[in-house]
């Protein structure tokens, strides 16, 4: 990108924009609307719809002198093109004059709309888009009141054509702008929909299996300028003008996409206020204007009928409903008795406010706290995490991104998109993973290592850069001489800005600490920490794992031991017994606070019903260390309470001073106590600057139905370096390779659509959900006498499970991959023994 600025005149208004801007965007920046259908500010222009036709004049240049010709009065002589030009494909030039309001332009628009409407059904009264439809709005503003075409000759096509089970196409309404096709191809590299036929018969089709096979498919319904594409979730659900909007944050992964929840009070729900749809909310620092389908369709758990509705106490072996007063009184009494013997186990599914109150309660009683997670490294992220004032959208030419041990496409789709885009802008992408992932296509360097060698690989990269080479374990001791490792290390070190994403595929809790430390070392040694657009991004599994670390929560290296020693255990927003059925969870007193009656809750003495994020306020810290707040969208279900409130009320009974009413006031206490949060208030989190492209209700035709952000973009935390602290290199001790003993290394992998408690209630995703399967290399399968489709009994340690075998050449040798949260109790990589139980004979 050049920094050269161009000045032009649009409708008499002088506009100065960077070179390379098109006329539509330039006009938008000056507050002038040039209507468009096919153009979208996030995609390359194609000039297909002809709606943006404007009159364009350019200054006449004297061919001899190369200077502008002037009129007698000294003004520039302008030569107008006799024909109208498309504003989206025409780039601005110095001295250009654009006329957007002449009769000629108006007539052009009117004619284009008349053409577009010849095949359009005009079924606005029953159309989901009615009320927020660019075609409707632009027809009202620019179109003819009547049509000269014969109504009877309109094309009649399929009205409910399922592209897949998630997205429906109304073929009659489609105006063939191609936005959806281009989005799928250009932006998310899933070219699974396309045009078929020609001319008036042109239609959107898909041949993928399953139909419209893309995890970003919902976004096409936002940018569709008509009601042609609708989601199965929302279609015929409500009219847009009946909906209220509440700002929220997605809770499905560590990206923290900004959402708007559209809600309505309706008879169908018995007069209750319910969520009708989830829409993206613009945050150019986080998710731009996109969300993945998990975020869009995964909210149904918040409204599931299975949710806990009242406190339960175990009486005579049965959990029976009791009043809050009784439950809290009982719990407080038992916690007081337990005192130092209290263990509070909570997960990053909770908000900052919840986690702060929980820690304070436990500290007040002298008890222990433990973060329930399978991944470590949060401390390193606090030291050299992505620095304050960073934006992944600014990474490009001259910068580098390293992604290690994470399949971003499945674990954090929007980060995958942002990294891909950075690579397309010219950033050097280094992907290190034991098996191929969707990101590799865009990488300059692909590093393939064995599971367990991830930290060693990063240290080898560091070794290849420096003359001083600390010894590494034998397995990785010679890696630094590898050409590919050297080239990648050199590219990383020479980059102006560099970011590392680290995940935990194939990495256990202990090993992930070493991996994070190795990341820190690499960043620090190459001077890529402590300044904007540099630093470490953890690919956590839960939305607020980072917040938990910031607020003092740490995983315990030996959780089993801590559990067996505790007198009372307070389990909040996690299900250790469900994840690991062999966990000895039998303390004297067990309290579970959750949304559902989980496997752990079934063992509990007291169960306390919490509120989901849609019914309360709170804040989260995403992997980029951005603190973001979410707002209540629907009224809380009676008898359930927000986690921080429950904890706060327990505190009151125990004489511990905790805020239990307002999340914002808990945040004030956090800000006063935790240095990184200093100055953060709910008001600061609600700061919403202007963003580009302009999105929103008045500009539906331009950016789509994504919501504008008026409720805050959040605040990024400064890392330790930015706070002036010293961060030093320490050499992590690398874990020994897992003993296999003739079996195979079982590695849990994250798949987007799993059966976790926050997704399983979205029945819409059932067809795409990962089943209890194991992926194995064909050679390895042959060696273990396993065939495709076999039902295999897996034994890892004391735990066992059944899984169906899938032969996959991309799986490394010596390994089986097992999906997380799909019914297989495997949390960390470990040795597994295979035994075929049942063979399916398909033929």
């Amino acid at each position: 990108m050049t920094n050269k600025m161009i000045t032009l005149t649009i409708d008499g208004i002088q506009v100065t924009v960077p070179e390379g801007t098109n006329i539509v965007d330039a006009a938008k920046k000056a507050g002038i609307d040039i209507p468009v259908f096919c153009y979208h500010p996030k995609m390359k222009p194609v000039g297909m719809c002809r709606m943006c036709l404007v009159e364009v004049g350019r200054p006449v240049v004297d061919r001899n002198t190369g200077e502008f010709v002037r009129n007698e009065d000294g003004s520039l002589k302008i030569q107008f093109n006799p024909k109208l030009e498309t504003g989206c494909t025409t780039l601005v030039s110095e001295g250009m004059v654009v006329i957007n309001t002449s009769d000629k332009v108006k007539r052009g628009r009117k004619d284009i709309l008349e053409f577009l409407l010849t095949s359009h059904p005009l079924d606005c009264p029953i159309c989901d888009k009615g009320g927020e439809c660019p075609l409707q709005n632009l027809t009202m503003a620019h179109g003819p009141g009547t049509s000269r075409f014969l109504f009877d000759e309109k094309k009649h096509l399929l009205k409910h054509y399922p592209l897949g089970e998630l997205i429906y196409l109304d073929q009659e309404r489609c105006i063939q702008c191609g936005r959806c096709i281009r989005f799928q191809e250009e932006l998310v590299d899933d070219p699974v929909i396309g045009f078929s036929q020609r001319g008036r018969s042109l239609q959107i089709v898909t041949f993928s299996e399953p139909g419209f096979d893309s995890i970003f498919s919902g976004n096409t319904t936002d940018i569709c300028p008509v009601g042609a594409l609708t989601t199965a979730d929302f279609r015929f659900g409500a009219r847009p003008w009946e909906l209220n909007a509440a700002a929220s944050i997605c809770q499905q992964c560590a990206v923290g996409c900004n959402l708007t929840l559209n809600v309505r009070r309706e008879a169908a729900a018995g007069g209750k206020v319910v969520i009708k749809r989830v829409m993206p909310r613009q945050n150019e620092w986080v998710n731009e204007i996109w969300i993945c389908d998990k975020g869009r369709f995964g909210y149904h758990y918040t409204e599931a009928p299975e949710r806990l509705t009242q406190p339960l106490i175990r009486k005579e072996g049965e959990l029976v409903p009791v009043s809050w007063e009784e439950a809290l009184g009982f719990v407080a009494e038992r916690f007081r008795q337990a005192g130092k013997g209290l263990l509070t186990l909570a997960s990053g599914r909770l908000s900052n406010e919840d986690l702060f109150n929980l820690r304070k309660l436990s500290e007040g009683l002298g008890g222990k706290i433990a973060l329930y997670t399978q991944m470590s490294g949060g401390e390193q992220v606090m030291q050299v995490g992505l620095a304050k004032e960073s934006n992944l959208a600014e990474l490009g030419q001259g910068d580098a991104i390293l992604v290690i041990a994470s399949d971003l496409h499945q674990e954090a789709p929007i980060w995958w998109l942002r990294v891909k885009q950075a690579a397309e802008r010219g950033a050097t992408l280094i992907v290190a993973h034991p098996r191929p992932t969707r990101l590799e296509k865009f990488a300059k360097h692909v590093l393939r290592y064995r599971y367990g060698d991830e930290a060693g690989l990063l240290l080898a990269m560091l070794n290849s850069l420096s003359a001083k080479r600390p010894a590494l374990p034998e397995r990785v001791s010679t890696l630094w001489r590898d050409d590919q490792v050297q080239a990648a290390a050199k590219a990383f070190a020479e980059a102006q800005n560099a970011v590392i994403f680290f995940g935990n595929e194939g990495v256990g809790l202990q090993a992930s600490q070493a991996l994070a430390q190795a990341c820190l070392n690499l960043l620090l040694a190459t001077n890529h920490a402590g300044r904007p657009n540099n630093g470490l991004i953890p690919v956590w599994q839960r939305p607020n794992d980072q917040g938990a670390w910031e607020l003092g929560w740490r995983p315990l290296p030996n959780l089993d031991e801590a559990i067996s020693q505790a007198n009372a255990i307070y389990v909040v927003a996690c299900d250790p017994a469900g994840d690991n059925p062999t966990l000895p969870l039998t303390p004297d007193f067990l309290v579970v606070q959750d949304l559902f009656l989980t496997a752990t809750a079934k063992l509990a003495h007291v169960v306390l019903p919490a509120l989901p994020f849609t019914e309360r306020e709170g804040s989260l810290v995403n992997g980029e260390r951005r603190v973001q707040r979410y707002y209540p969208a629907v009224p809380p279900r009676p008898s359930a309470r927000a986690d921080f409130t429950i904890t706060g009320q327990l505190g009151k009974l125990l004489g511990i001073d905790l805020e239990d009413r307002l999340a914002s006031k808990v945040m004030l206490r956090i800000a006063a106590e935790v240095p990184a949060f200093s100055g953060i208030t709910y008001t600061a989190l609600a700061y919403a600057p202007e963003q580009w492209p302009i999105i929103g209700r008045e500009d539906l035709y331009y950016g789509g139905t994504t919501y504008e952000n008026k409720q805050g973009i959040g605040v990024q935390l400064p890392n330790a370096l930015q706070q002036g602290e010293q961060v030093t290199l320490t050499w992590p001790s690398l874990a020994q390779a897992t003993e296999i003993n003739g079996g195979l290394l079982a590695v849990p992998v994250t798949k987007l659509y799993d059966s976790g408690s926050t997704l399983v209630h979205s029945k819409l995703l059932d067809q795409r959900r990962v089943a209890a399967v194991l992926w194995i290399h064909p050679d390895e399968a042959a060696a273990h006498a396993v065939q495709e489709g076999d039902l295999v009994h897996l034994q890892f340690g004391e735990a066992s499970a059944m899984a169906t075998a899938i032969l996959d050449k991309t799986v490394p040798q010596g390994v089986i991959l097992l999906p997380r949260s799909a019914g297989i109790p495997l949390l960390e990589p470990c040795a597994a023994q295979l035994k075929v139980v049942e063979r399916s004979y398909e033929r």
Partner: protein, 165 residues
């Protein structure tokens, strides 16, 4: 299982050899013809097989089948009679010709005879306006043109096909 790849390895190899190795997608049209010859039409299975051979997304190949009229995404007869009914042909009696031909065969435009031999289609210009009524016959072997036709001459031609065992 990739039926095309297994049945026509040399043919596919020869086709691919005509294009640069990094431009395998260029071979998509010949492979579509091959698939049509094998299956009689471009089935979903055929799309999948070509997609695998060329490493091109299946939807991109499906788009082509829709774009070109000589690829069929539905099964039809062994012989596809394609009659031009554009204005100049219509002036020379193409519409009546088509109607009578249909009557003789006992099927409507777009349909296939019960024995699976013949499908009749109305198509756009075949570039022989002065020699209408005319039609082309599409078979697995390719296209043949038949100009200045009458129902009698067309039926005579059809009877020769019917006599082929």
């Amino acid at each position: 299982m990739n039926r095309l790849q297994e049945k026509y390895p040399t043919e596919i190899e020869n086709t691919l050899a005509k294009y640069p190795p990094d431009q395998k997608r260029a071979a998509v049209m010949p492979l579509l013809y091959l698939a049509q010859r094998e299956y009689g039409y471009i089935s979903k299975q055929a799309l999948q097989e070509i997609s695998e051979i060329l490493d091109v997304p299946v939807t991109e190949i499906g788009q082509l089948v829709g774009f070109y009229t000589l690829y069929h995404d539905q099964p039809g007869g062994k012989y596809r009679i394609q009659v031009c009914t554009d204005l100049p042909c219509a002036l020379r009696g193409a519409e009546e010709f088509l109607e009578q031909l249909c009557e003789n065969l006992g099927i409507r435009v777009g349909e296939t005879t019960p024995d699976g031999l013949i499908t009749i289609e109305a198509v756009m210009c075949l570039a022989g306006c002065d020699r209408a009524p005319l039609f082309q016959v599409q078979t697995a072997e390719g296209l043949t043109y038949h100009e200045n036709q009458s129902v009698e001459s067309a039926m005579k031609l059809i009877r020769t096909w019917q006599s082929i065992p």
